[in-house]
Symmetry: C2
Subunit: 410 residues, 2 copies
C-alpha cells in the first residue's frame, strides 16, 4: 500500500460522524449473538449502492433501491438483521418498510434515508415485533465504539468479524473510509456479493460515489467466489457525509482517483477477508492473471480458476494438481491461445512453476507440498498475449463447507 494510505481501527464508524450499535432482538435464539445492527450518520449522506443480480430479490433490496432511486441517493442510517433473509415471504415488503419506518420515527429522519438489509434463511415469514421491541435500545446504544457490535449482528456463518478502515488526505483534509462486511456462503461474482456497508467522511456527489463504487466492485467483490451461488440479498452500500470538509468531488480528476484508490484498498481487504472466511475454508486462494488480451478475459480466467470445485478441493488436499487449473482456464468463455499459458503456484514458502507454454513442467512434489501447506495460496497465470491483468479471490472446498450447508436451517 502506498504511503499516502494508512490502516486505522474503527471499521464502519472510523470516519467522522458515524456511530453504530448491534444487539440481539430475538431473531437468533442464541442471546450472545447479535442479530440487529444500526449504523447512523449525524449528517445526511450522499449514498450509492449496488445490489444482487438475482431475479429473486429480498424485500430489503427492493425497498432500499426504491429509497435511493427516489431521493437522488441520500441516506442517514442503515438497519440490518441476520437470521431471516426476508425473501420469498408474502409479508416481505411490509416488514422491510416497517424496519425503515421504525428507524425513521425513532431518529426523526426521513424514511427513505434508511438503508434496509437482511440476511439469513429464505422463505420464512417474519414479524415486525422483535424490531419494534428493540428499536429504542438500538438507537440508545449508538456509539463510536459500536462498530463491532454492529458487525457481530450481520454475521451468519462468518467465523471472524470483517472490518477495515483507511486514512488518507484530500486537499490537505484528513479523510477516512471504512466498512464492515459479512460472508460467507452463497457468494459469487456478478453482483455485490454479501452485505457490505462502507462509510466515509469524504465530500463527494452521489453520482461520483456511484461511479466509483461500480468501478471498484467490478474488480473486487465481483471477483470473489465461494460457491457459485449468487445470493438474493446482497448489497454493497457506501455513505459519504462530507464531514472531512474536502472540496466536494463532483467530477473525475486527481481527488476522484485518490478516493477510488482508498475504495479499492478497503474493498480489496474486505474481499480477501470474505474469501478467507468462506464457509468451511481453511485456505485463501488468490488468482492473479497477467498479460491477458482484455480486462474481461483476465477477470473471467481469474474467476474461473478461483471458482473451480475440483481445484478448490485440490488446494484443501494440498495437492499440486495443476491440470485442474488448466482445465478451468480452458473452459473460460473467452477466446485466447491456451498454448501460450505459463502458471506458477506460490505462497510465502516459495514458487513452484507447474506449466510453461501450455505443457506441464516437472516439479518436486516435496517443494510443492511445502508451498501448499501455507494458508494463503497465490496462483499466477500469465497468458502471454496482451496487457491486461486481474485478480480473483476464493477459498478451498472442505468437509466443513458440506457440513455447514448440509444443515444450515437447524
Amino acid at each position: 500500500m502506498k504511503e499516502d494510505f494508512k490502516f486505522i481501527e474503527g471499521g464502519v464508524t472510523a470516519a467522522a460522524g458515524y456511530t453504530a450499535h448491534g444487539l440481539n432482538c430475538g431473531l437468533n435464539p442464541d442471546k450472545n449473538k447479535n442479530d440487529l445492527a444500526l449504523v447512523y450518520s449525524e449528517k445526511q449522506c450522499n449514498a450509492a449502492a449496488v445490489y444482487t443480480t438475482n431475479k429473486v430479490k429480498g424485500a430489503p433490496i427492493l425497498v432500499t433501491k426504491r429509497h435511493l432511486d427516489n431521493n437522488g441517493g441520500k441516506a442517514r442510517a442503515i438497519i440490518a438483521n441476520s437470521k431471516n433473509a426476508n425473501t420469498c415471504n408474502a409479508n416481505g415488503i411490509e416488514i422491510a418498510d416497517g424496519m425503515a419506518k421504525l428507524v425513521a420515527d425513532n431518529m426523526n429522519i426521513p424514511e427513505d434515508e434508511v438503508i434496509v438489509a437482511s440476511t439469513g434463511v429464505i422463505g420464512e415469514v417474519m414479524s415486525i415485533e422483535p424490531f419494534k421491541n428493540s428499536i429504542k435500545d438500538l438507537v440508545a446504544g449508538l456509539s463510536k465504539d459500536g462498530h463491532l457490535r454492529a458487525e457481530n449482528a450481520i454475521m451468519t456463518t462468518d467465523t471472524v468479524p470483517k472490518e477495515i478502515a483507511v486514512e488518507f488526505s484530500l486537499g490537505g483534509k484528513k479523510c477516512v473510509l471504512g466498512g464492515m462486511a459479512k460472508g460467507s456462503g452463497m457468494i459469487h461474482p456478478n453482483m455485490a456479493t454479501t452485505l457490505n456497508f462502507l462509510t466515509t467522511d469524504v465530500s463527494i456527489s452521489s453520482d461520483m460515489l456511484h461511479s466509483a463504487l461500480s468501478e471498484i466492485v467490478t474488480v473486487t467483490y465481483n471477483c470473489l467466489t465461494i460457491d457459485g451461488d449468487t445470493s438474493t440479498n446482497d448489497m454493497v452500500s457506501v455513505m459519504a457525509n462530507g464531514m472531512a470538509e474536502n472540496a466536494e468531488i463532483n467530477d473525475v480528476g486527481e481527488d476522484f482517483d485518490k478516493f477510488k484508490e482508498a475504495l479499492y484498498i478497503v474493498m480489496e481487504q474486505l474481499t480477501r477477508m470474505l474469501a478467507k472466511d468462506g464457509e468451511g475454508a481453511t485456505k485463501l486462494i488468490e488468482v492473479h492473471v497477467t498479460k491477458a488480451p482484455s480486462k474481461d478475459c483476465a477477470i473471467k480466467v481469474a474467476k474461473s480458476v478461483a471458482g473451480s470445485s475440483l481445484f478448490k478441493c485440490a488446494i484443501f488436499g494440498e495437492d499440486a494438481n495443476w491440470g485442474r487449473i488448466a482445465c478451468a482456464v480452458g473452459y473460460t468463455d473467452e477466446d485466447f491461445d491456451i498454448m501460450l499459458m505459463d502458471c506458477d503456484l506460490t505462497s510465502d514458502a516459495g514458487v513452484i512453476p507447474v506449466c510453461r507454454n501450455g505443457y506441464g513442467v516437472a516439479f518436486s512434489e516435496e517443494e510443492a507440498a511445502k508451498v501448499l501447506k501455507e494458508d494463503e495460496i497465490i496462483v499466477n497465470i500469465c497468458l502471454n498475449q496482451g496487457d491486461y491483468d486481474a485478480k480473483a479471490w476464493g477459498c478451498d472446498l472442505t468437509y466443513d463447507y458440506v457440513k455447514i450447508n448440509g444443515d444450515y436451517r437447524s
Copy 2:
C-alpha cells in the same frame, strides 16, 4: 418407456457385430483394475461424435476429431485408457496417434477409423510402451461378453459400471442400441461430458447420426452437472454398423424419430447413472422444469438448480431448504417472472409443495424429512409462463466429494 422399446443386457456389445475387451496394461498399479479398453465392429460403421468445449483439449480429442472429419465419419474401433488423460503433455499427439496406429496395424483397419479416448490425470507425460506391450492381448480378448471388461477399463472414480442397451424395431427389423459411460467428477453441461461410447446395428447415414446425437446430447448429457467443471477430454461417440439391415435412415421421418427415441432412452439412462454415481454422491437429483417461456430457459433453470452447491449440500443433509432452489432459479441468466413459480420436492415417499407464486408455503418438516430420505429426489419447478419443459440431473455434494478430490492424484 413405450412398449416399442425393451431394455436388454450387453451394453456396448449388445448390438449385432460388436465385440469388446478390457485389461490392465500397467497404467494403473492396481492389477485388478482394467485401464485399457477396445471396442470393435466387424463391419465399418458410420460414426458421429461430440467433444468437450474446453479450450484445453486432450490429444485424443484432437486425433479422433481429425479422423472423423477427414474420413467423412467412418469408424471400426475405439481404444480408450484411464489413469492418464493424455492432456497438456508435450508428447500427447504422438501417443494418441500411436494408440490408433497400434489398433490399426493389429486389426488391419485404417488408422483413421480408430476412435481414441483417454481419461485421468492431466499434464503427465505418457509412454507408448504399455499399449505396445498389451495390444496383442487386447485384440485377442475381444468377445461379445467383453463389454463389462471394457467398461471397467474406462472407469476412474466411478463406483459402479454404467451400461445400458435397448431393443426396438425399424421397418420390421430388430435393432439394438447400447452403450457404456464413465463419470464421475469434472462433469458439467455445455459439452459431451465424460466418456460415452454408443454402438448400434441400425443403418443410418453419418449425417443423420450426427444430427440425432447433437439433438439428444442437448437434453441429456448436457443437462448433467456434477461439479461445474468442464473436462478437457469428454466425448460422446456413436457408431452404427447397419447390421440390423433396416432401410438406411437418410432423412428425417418416422424411422429417424424412432431412432432418436431409442437414443434418448439410452442417453437418459446413462445420464441418470452418471449423476447418481457422481463423485461422493449419495443421492440423485433430478430437476423437472415445466411451463417455461422457451426451451432454453427450461434447460437453464433446470441446470442452475441441479448445479447449485448450496442446494446440493442441503439435499445431502436431507434439509428442505427450498430457498436455495428459489435462489438458483433466480440467478439463471434468462428473463422470466419469478413470482409465478410453483415448486414441489418429490420422491417415492411423497410430494411436498414448498412454493406457490414465488412465496414459501408452510409444510411439515417431518413429511419433508421422509421425502428427502429417499435416494432419488425430484424437484418439480413449474414456471407457469409458457409451454416448454426440460430435465437436468445432478447429485448431492458430500464429504466424500471433497475427500476424493482433495487427493485425487495419489
